[in-house]
Symmetry: C2
Subunit: 320 residues, 2 copies
């Protein structure tokens, strides 16, 4: 990496990819590294599917389906229809274009390349200036604990549509996982100016990353302020099961609940204007707070939120 990385973002899901795109407009994208949640990854039909990594790749290359937020624009589904015709497993949506990534990746993984090396190569070839990588090259898979027993994440999320009550999470493989080499290098390099926790689901997007042994300490020790954007806005989540999970786990569904979840990891928190009245309480708890429009509809919204996040990180640095 020629230009040193100045900003590291931790990202999962669609909200994470949106802010990552915003950051690429708010700064020199080649100075941005985005570590993707590996917890959603799974093996399917002999392929390794990495939904959060791929959403980042498609979003930052301009290939994404902006309507749905995941998958590729102008996607076709002829593979899936043909698979269905002879009884193949079709519960997970795999588009024809999307398959190119999964097949090329599975083939390269099988020949011994690391997930982060493959991702870096594909992102370069797609013209992405920012550095997208999995938080770890090791398999680290979220297991959702429910009253009916543990469910692998995609079974819970896609097949069961996030319906079962959540009682907790485990991260299979975490104990043996190391941070991706380039991520470890950036964390140890002392050149970071900001670490951004994207407005992703804390339990299933960010906690899997934090479950990598030593990573939480490495983030805290990187010498850069850590600022998050709350995925909870006005007592609910923009998208996905974050609010449902917080309720089921008996946590307050609020920006305070998000702050409490991350605890001393955070230096700053960006909250939505809808939660303005919580700012004082958060500040009293020791956080720097920015109040902003955090619902990202347009590209301008994303870039503006990226600027707020970087501004808040700057304020945290100034306060040190």
């Amino acid at each position: 990496m020629s230009a040193p990385i100045r900003v590291l973002a931790l990202s999962g899901g669609i909200g994470g990819a949106k802010l990552a795109l915003g950051l690429t407009h708010a700064m020199a994208p080649e100075r941005l590294m985005i570590a993707a949640n590996p917890g959603d990854d799974f093996e399917h039909l002999g392929l390794t599917i990495c939904p959060d990594l791929d959403t980042l790749t498609y979003t930052l290359s301009g290939l994404s389906d902006r309507e749905k937020g995941w998958g590729r624009a102008g996607e076709s589904w002829n593979f899936l229809a043909a698979l269905d015709a002879f009884g193949g497993e079709t519960w997970f949506q795999l588009g024809d274009k999307d398959l190119a990534l999964h097949i090329a990746r599975a083939h390269r993984l099988a020949s011994g390349e690391s997930l982060s090396a493959i991702t870096g190569d594909i992102c370069r070839r797609l013209g992405i200036a920012a550095h997208i990588l999995p938080a770890t090259d090791a398999p680290l898979r979220t297991i959702v604990e429910t009253p009916e027993g543990p469910l692998p994440f995609q079974r819970y999320f896609v097949e069961r549509r996030a319906a079962p009550v959540v009682t907790g999470f485990t991260f299979d493989g975490a104990a043996a996982a190391l941070p991706s080499p380039a991520l470890a290098e950036v964390l140890a390099g002392g050149m970071l100016e900001a670490i951004v926790v994207c407005p992703s689901n804390p339990y299933i997007s960010i906690d899997p990353i934090l479950a990598i042994p030593g990573l939480r300490d490495a983030l805290r020790g990187a010498g850069a302020p850590i600022v998050a954007v709350s995925p909870i806005v006005g007592g609910t989540a923009i998208k996905g099961p974050t609010a449902k999970m917080m309720r089921e786990l008996g946590r307050p569904v609020s920006v305070q609940g998000i702050a409490a979840h991350y605890g001393d990891l955070l230096d700053g928190l960006v909250i939505d204007e809808a939660d303005r009245e919580a700012a004082d309480e958060l500040r009293a708890g020791g956080l720097k707070v920015a109040v902003a429009q955090t619902v990202m509809r347009s590209d301008a919204d994303k870039a503006a939120l990226g600027e707020v996040v970087l501004w808040l990180a700057g304020r945290c640095r100034g306060a040190e």
Copy 2:
């Protein structure tokens, strides 16, 4: 298998699949077994591609591209275009629908199912009444010997467009290959009425099957006449490199050359009307001969040729 198999066809390539389709119209298809050439199979992008098996599957299920003779009708190519965009290997054409078969098969092979079991299941689900199977479940791969060295078949055929001069063939893995269990059972069962060698390339479609240790003897010992349809018509091949290979190997490019190649394997040979004048010489050599329209353009042509083949086998039986 409830109904005993009465006819066994050995098939490779497009000509083989055409006659196999013709046979399904000339007899009860559930009494027909078609053993496909495994020699064209290869590993590509982590998938196991079985071109001859798949051409049979698509032809007999009505899914084939009748224009091209291979692949699926109404195919789309979005996977390949997406793969190309990040530098993947695109020299082998893989359509979006076609991928369903390759991915499902690779996944099932990796989980320990045999190629013949997977093929049988998929053919049943696609409504194919005839029994299509690979001649062997073991990898048995044609290597083309050329002055520039040995070339794996698909590299020779697709990537090099069959341009290099051929000096011979080897069949990698043949020594350890066993006939597919259902094929061995049919050959040993004593219920066959005819064995058909389709108008396929003798070197790269039929010889790989005959390279399975013991198979030539098992065919001869099955108690049924063996009749071939000449892939050479009027001194050339309808399609593909058969004539070119015969020339390069110094063999006469004629129906006599085909008869000489198979030698004492054959009881009968169907030749085209264009080669009528060779019939007496072939009969003098001990073969039963039928002269027919062997160029299969329409489905009626295919069915008619199927009937001729079965009729010739009947004549061979009557003569015993």
